[in-house]
């Protein structure tokens, strides 16, 4: 099964479970979790079921397209369900079956793996899912996001698309993976991998990036003070990506690093709080709709 069909299969499966199919969010980010469709929507009492593919940028993992397992940008298929359904493990296993993975022919296990990102005030408990010894999915029950307790709890399922595809297509090198008929990952991503790696490690303008960080940070705070969560959050994401670029370049000294992480953390906590307050002002509209719906 090529990657395109894998994505279509997963979309169909989760759409049938009542998930809204979203598109990737258009701001750079390091993981699907940082999309506002996850980070913000996991906050507060409103229900939320969504699935989307998220291209995720990890500047420090860039390898000029030379390493068979590491990428500057990989793809995650992200599912969020809130509140977490009682049969979520079964729903997940059904998705594997839809991808042609018969649990009876393999060894599938749920191995403890907890997720913590203190810089975003996030914590969750769950597993990595092993398929014949390979980690193919992160499965997490969010307990805290942006320093706020999650009530109800969301469950997050993150498939590593390239990982899973390398198993399904039995390929050793990520660039040999077939995206669709006649197109491999190499065809589509090799050049950007090389260029982004070169940019990250060699040609980026550090002074500009430092300036941008400050500008983005200031704008994020200013928009939060206006109660405009989403514009503010875009700038939070930009801060985070800019920091990652600088960090991968080795441009941030020891003492500065702590300071930058603290600044990102403050932003994340503030934006989480602002989002909650703004939704509250609106009367948690999705919650209300749902309740009205159930009365009929």
């Amino acid at each position: 099964m090529n990657i395109q069909n894998m994505i279509l299969t997963l979309q169909k499966h989760w759409s049938e479970q009542g998930c809204i199919l979203m598109q990737a969010y258009d701001t750079e980010k390091g993981a699907g979790t940082m999309s506002p469709y996850t980070f913000l929507r996991a906050i507060g009492p409103e229900p939320w079921n969504v699935a989307y593919v998220e291209p995720s940028r990890r500047p420090a993992d860039g390898r000029y397209g030379e390493n068979p397992n590491r990428l500057y940008q990989h793809h995650q298929f992200q599912v969020i369900m809130k509140p977490s359904p009682d049969n979520i493990q079964e729903l997940y296993l059904d998705s594997l079956k839809a991808l042609g993975i018969d649990p009876l022919e393999h060894d599938i296990r749920f191995v403890e793996d907890n997720w913590e990102n203190p810089s975003l005030g996030c914590a969750g408990l769950g597993w990595e899912v092993w398929l014949d010894g390979m980690e193919i999915t992160q499965f997490t029950y969010f307990q805290q996001v942006g320093g706020l307790e999650c009530k109800p709890v969301s469950v997050e399922i993150t498939y590593g698309i390239e990982r899973l595809a390398s198993y399904i297509q039995d390929k050793e090198n990520v660039f040999d993976l077939e995206w669709t008929d006649g197109f491999t990952v190499r065809d589509i991503f090799l050049q950007p991998e090389f260029e982004h790696s070169k940019y990250t490690f060699e040609t980026s303008d550090q002074e500009m990036l430092f300036n941008l960080f400050n500008i983005y940070e200031k704008e994020a705070h200013r928009q939060m003070d206006e109660g405009l969560v989403h514009p503010a959050y875009d700038y939070v994401l930009k801060c985070s990506h800019t920091f990652n670029l600088l960090d991968a370049r080795g441009a941030i000294s020891v003492t500065e690093r702590t300071g930058y992480i603290a600044r990102c953390r403050n932003l994340a906590r503030k934006v989480a709080k602002t989002f909650y307050e703004e939704r509250e002002k609106l009367g948690f509209p999705i919650l209300k709709d749902k309740e009205e719906g159930s009365h009929e």
Binding site: L104, E105, R109, E112, D132, G133, Y141, P152, V153, V254
Partner: protein, 690 residues
């Protein structure tokens, strides 16, 4: 008496393997103490667990609580009856309080006094009526990490999926979160089905038919015998790491061991790298030849049956191959980096925000190690080895390999240092300076390794204390206790007569000179000395030295750790000997009276008034001279108790607190000087003699 079997099973989403066994034991302990508390008799209790279930089966549970027949004791007879022989208010109140009336009162003598009593009979309740209380037992289970899910308030190890609770063939009704009890359980996630259990005693068998081995011991034996079978078939040796076996056992409900292989070329990687890749990351058992050589195979335990094993093996091989090819890449890359370049990078790595960089830590450790090798009179060559090892002790921390496999710190340092032409002793010390790595690990064998290990651990402890990271209760995130024990064990193993207070002082000075924390040296020293004393106390307790003897040797300064431990052992070995009590009493008497001396001073023999003062003085001089010759602890003890006759004679004929001030203070000086000599061995007055 009617009996039934009781079965309780909590079905869960996969629990963390490391918590399964303890959680299972906790559940069965709680059920057991509940039954005892409720006075419900039973025959036997057994516990079961798998990644998805915790269960307890109790056989022969009485269908009712024991009846209670007891006598309640009330007021004394003279209070229960008024002067004219009528029942007093106290008696009426007592009997009413017991649900009886005054007619039920009888008298019974206790220690010669008659008291009012009434007989009470409480009929035991039906067990079935009490069993819904199991609900609280389940919700009261505590786990090291808890979570919430969906809309539930309960914090639990993982979401509860089903609850099976049976008393005989009846379901015990209760619910937790939105899950209600039933007689249904679930088999293996893929191979089994949901089934009804009609009788608690069917539990194990019924689930086995659904591909779940519920008894963890049986599951473990199954894994072991499968490993043995592979060993026999392939002529291999599969060394079994107990911790790995325990973890693997709690990752599967129905184990099937299988093997796979990897390319021979990867055997060129250091053995530790291969083993760590297999064990830590993949939970595989490495395979060796009968001669102990690592072979290009691995064994894994699948959660499933024998079907499609080749497919599972092939998948696992692919994963391991990717990991090993990564490792091989890191290994090659690391060899391109010079040690000096790695040391440069340490300047950019924060060890702790308030403590500074790794490079700064290495620098402090190096200073401390150099002072230690000076104090231990190392040869110039040994000093040079220690210093170089200290300087490059952390260079491997910035290697790709240690970044990927943090548990290989030190091992990789040794390997890489050798490859880069460092002396063997230097390379070895880099590895050894992390020892003892855990409670079971050995202490460093080489002198350079031992000095470095002590210096590194001391620096960690002292700098942490300096910024207020001090272990308390169950809180010891930096494992400072284990490191302190490591320092003590290393000093003991090397039999190094270094004064611990001096070591702590040296380390404190380097730490404070680096401007870490805001404490004064004396405050820091005080906290550290009592921290180390407590570690030594635990060590002596483990050696089963009696409590008061430990207090006695720890009474004053710690000094040399090997000597302190030997003194404790000498006391322990003599404590039941004839004359021990009398000798200790004599020595304690000196210490006790010496505490009255306000100032210390020399003894003026011209002020002696009797021969006993003189003979004790002479004895003191000769004993003291012998003790200065660094005699063994056993000999020192014998010298001290040889003072006994002179001490006894002295006290029999001498009044220390003489009216004449000059004589009195001279006598106190004599006592104080003698007490000092005794206390160097132990505060004998702390020893309990009866």
């Amino acid at each position: 008496m009617n009996k039934k079997d009781l079965l309780l099973e909590i079905g869960l989403e996969e629990m963390p393997a490391r918590f399964v066994t303890n959680s299972m034991n906790q559940l069965s302990d709680k059920v057991k103490s509940w039954l005892l508390e409720k006075k419900i008799s039973f025959d036997e209790i057994s516990a079961f667990s798998s990644p998805r279930r915790l269960a307890v089966l109790v056989t022969g549970v009485d269908t009712a609580q024991e009846d209670i027949n007891e006598e309640a004791k009330g007021p004394a007879k003279k209070i229960a009856l008024t002067d004219n022989g009528e029942w007093s208010k106290a008696a009426v109140g007592f009997s009413r309080g017991q649900g009886a009336s005054v007619e039920d009162i009888f008298f019974k003598e206790i220690n010669g006094v008659e008291y009012a009593h009434v007989s009470k009979f409480i009929k035991g309740k039906e067990t079935a009526a009490l069993l819904p209380e199991l609900q609280q037992i389940v919700t009261s289970l505590s786990f090291p990490k808890n979570m919430r899910w969906a809309n539930q308030e309960l914090r639990f190890i993982r979401p509860i999926k089903w609850l099976m609770a049976l008393f005989g063939n009846e379901v015990i009704p209760f619910a937790i979160t939105n899950v209600h009890t039933s007689n249904l359980t679930r088999g293996h996630r893929f191979l089994g089905e949901e089934i009804v259990i009609n009788n608690p005693s069917d539990y194990e068998k019924a689930l086995l038919a659904q591909y779940v081995i519920t008894n963890p011991q049986e599951r473990k034996s199954a894994i072991l015998s499968q490993l043995e079978k592979i060993e026999e078939e392939k002529d291999w040796v599969i060394p079994v790491d107990e911790d790995l076996l325990e973890e693997v056992n709690n990752l599967v409900e129905y184990p099937t061991a299988l093997y796979g292989q990897f390319e021979e070329e990867y055997l060129e990687l250091p053995e530790e790298v291969l083993i760590t890749s297999m064990k830590e990351h993949q939970r595989y058992f490495p395979v060796k030849s009968k001669e102990g050589r690592l072979l290009p195979y691995f064994v894994t335990v699948r959660n499933g049956s024998h079907e499609h094993l080749e497919k599972v093996a092939k998948g696992n091989e692919k994963v391991l191959r990717a990991r090993l090819s990564d490792a091989a890449f890191f290994y090659r890359e690391d060899q391109k980096t010079e040690i000096a370049a790695s040391l440069e990078k340490l300047k950019n790595i924060v060890y702790h925000e308030e403590i500074g960089t790794l490079a700064e830590k290495v620098d402090r450790v190096r200073q401390l190690a150099s002072k230690l090798s000076e104090n231990l009179h190392f040869s110039d060559e040994a000093k040079a080895v220690t210093d170089r090892a200290a300087e490059i002790s952390k260079f491997d921390l910035v290697s790709h390999m240690v970044y990927e496999f943090p548990e290989l710190q030190g091992f990789m340092g040794e390997k890489y240092a050798l490859q880069k032409g460092e002396k063997e002793a230097v390379a070895r010390a880099i590895n050894e300076h992390y020892m003892p790595r855990n409670a079971e690990d050995k202490t460093p064998a080489s002198n350079a390794g031992a000095v470095l290990s002590i210096a590194e651990k001391l620096d960690t402890i002292v700098s942490s204390f300096a910024i207020g990271i001090i272990p308390s209760g169950s809180q010891d995130p930096y494992a400072l206790r284990r490191q302190a024990t490591g320092v003590i064990q290393t000093l003991l193993a090397k039999n190094w007569d270094l004064k611990l207070e001096e070591l702590i002082a040296l380390s404190s000075e380097t730490v404070l000179n680096s401007k870490i924390g805001k404490k004064s040296k004396s405050e820091l020293m005080q906290e550290l000395v009592s921290f180390f004393k407590l570690r030594i106390k635990y060590l002596l307790q483990e050696k089963t030295v009696r409590y008061d003897l430990i207090e006695a040797v720890l009474g004053s300064e710690i000094g040399s750790v090997p000597s302190l431990v030997k003194r404790a052992e000498v006391l322990e070995s003599h404590k039941d000997a004839a004359g021990f009590k009398e000798s200790i009493e004599a020595l304690s008497r000196v210490i006790n009276i010496a505490s009255k001396a306000e100032v210390k001073g020399d003894i003026d023999s011209s002020l002696f008034e009797n021969d006993y003062e003189k003979s004790l003085f002479n004895k003191y001089l000769s004993v003291n001279e012998e003790l200065r010759k660094e005699v063994a602890e056993e000999a020192a003890f014998n010298l001290l108790i040889s003072l006994k006759p002179e001490i006894d004679q002295y006290f029999e004929h001498t009044m220390v607190m003489d009216e004449n001030q000059e004589i009195r203070s001279n006598r106190l000086h004599q006592m104080a000087n003698l007490a000092d000599v005794i206390k160097k061995f132990a505060n004998m007055n702390e020893i309990i003699v009866k």
